[in-house]
């Protein structure tokens, strides 16, 4: 065991972790941050996608101690003052989910894209989401949602 200090959605946490413990176990089981999901546990499905120092990572294959001192952002950390983030709002408007299991990962992958490319093409959205599997919607409404969110500035409500 070793002491890990990380900032999650703005709050600093100190937890004891094993040397092979992954970030997803820390988030869900120690810090009770539940939006990232345990899916494949091999980096293939994208359900655990989070931002580490602003970069998209798979929490399930990120060694917790390897990101000592880093800043982690999950879905819980992207809304402000209780208002949905434009991406969340558009996933809702465009029916971008059914069961919702993949949605937190989808939205974090989309956020990573929009942070670096605010006006992506549909093809760029597809590449950005290529590591996120959805077994319900067939992806079309998800891509619609990301493209619609890209058109809306973050401060627009509606």
């Amino acid at each position: 065991m070793a002491l890990l200090e990380i900032k999650v959605n703005g709050t600093v946490h100190r937890v004891d972790v094993g040397i092979t413990t992954n970030l997803l176990e820390v988030l869900r089981e120690k810090l009770h941050v539940m939006s990232p999901k345990f899916g494949c546990e091999s980096g293939d499905c994208g359900a655990c996608s989070v931002l580490v120092n602003g970069k998209l990572r798979r929490a399930c294959i990120t060694n917790a101690l390897s990101i000592q001192g880093s800043e982690v952002t999950t879905l819980e950390g992207i809304s402000e003052n209780g208002d949905l983030h434009p991406l969340q709002k558009q996933f809702y408007e465009k029916y971008g989910f059914q069961c919702g299991f993949c949605t937190p990962g989808m939205i974090m992958s989309a956020k990573a894209l929009l942070d670096s490319n605010p006006n992506p093409t549909a093809d760029e959205v597809k590449v950005a989401l290529s590591g996120n599997l959805c077994r319900c919607t067939g992806y079309v409404p998800i891509i619609d949602a990301v493209l619609s969110a890209a058109k809306k500035p973050a401060d627009e409500k509606g």
Binding site: E41, G46, K55, R58, I61, L65, S109, S130, G131
Partner: protein
């Protein structure tokens, strides 16, 4: 497990001596994209006593040193894709790395891990072989150099010895008359592991081929450099029939296995077709 240790040295020599002195099972961690899934399974493949993390060594540099492109072993695929030096002097590598996994994997996975894990389908390694890359390997006693082709290809005796760590990769810059090609076939376009991949670099003057290097991935126990195809191409004008002959030579050299992604039979056929297509695209 009371004595498990996570060590993150900041000095390469120190990292090598930790490797030499560690008691019990030691594993080396960089991006974790290959290693961490092995710990996550319900019955993990192994439990290390010491995890040596390389992220503190600052081996993520990419720089131009005269006619050599120098890439630190811990540069991620994304670092490589976004590097102006790589895009200008080794565009083949940038292209191959841009097709590895998905954005989150490219943000974590490193080129050193891609080489040292010696997966048959390591796309970065396949591209580096076509570029005639070499490696600098560090140990407590200093450094040694080696051609990447010799390192990756069996026998194992060429591989890292106890206490050695891959420090950086050297790539001769592409010359103005060099042409290159990269073709990868996976089960789908995004986020897939190669069923077969082909990397090619050669010179062309008045349609005549010379100095070809063709590497193939996912069709043998490790990526390999074709011996036969360059001899077929040398000095000849590029045509569809010549491309087909070169493809057949690589297909003959391939030694693939059946797995969940494709049969050996299919891989052997496919790699020949990919070589032919890569060549025709250059014509």
């Amino acid at each position: 497990m009371p004595n498990q240790q996570f060590v993150s040295p900041t000095d390469l020599r120190e990292a090598c001596s930790i490797l030499c002195q560690a008691k019990g099972k030691i594993a080396i961690l960089a991006g974790g994209t290959d290693l961490m899934p092995r710990f996550n399974t319900r019955r993990p493949a192994f439990r290390p006593d010491v995890l040596l993390y390389l992220g503190g060594l600052h081996l993520d540099y990419i720089r131009l040193d005269g006619q050599t492109l120098v890439i630190g072993a811990c540069a991620t695929h994304e670092d490589i894709v976004n590097s102006d030096h790589v895009r200008k002097h080794a565009p083949l590598l940038a292209k191959a790395c841009s097709e590895i996994g998905c954005p989150a994997i490219r943000n974590a996975g490193t080129i050193g891990g891609n080489v040292c894990n010696r997966a048959p389908y390591a796309d970065g390694t396949t591209a580096l072989m076509a570029l005639d890359a070499s490696m600098v390997i560090a140990s407590e006693n200093g450094e040694r150099g080696m051609k990447l082709e010799d390192f990756v290809t069996y026998p194992l005796s060429n591989f890292l010895k106890p206490g050695e760590i891959l420090k950086e990769i050297h790539i001769p810059v592409m010359l103005p008359d060099h042409k290159w090609g990269w073709l990868k076939q996976g089960q789908r376009r995004g986020s897939s592991i190669s069923v077969a991949a082909v990397a090619l670099r050669m010179k062309m003057q008045d349609r005549a081929c010379s100095d070809a290097r063709i590497a193939a991935g996912a069709v043998a126990p490790t990526p390999f450099v074709s011996k036969g195809a360059p001899a077929i191409l040398e000095g000849q004008p590029l045509s569809e029939s010549l491309a087909e002959k070169a493809g057949a030579a690589v297909s003959e050299e391939a030694d693939p296995q059946d797995d969940s992604r494709a049969s050996a039979w299919y891989r052997k056929k496919l790699v020949g077709v990919l070589v032919k297509r890569t060549l025709i695209e250059l014509a």
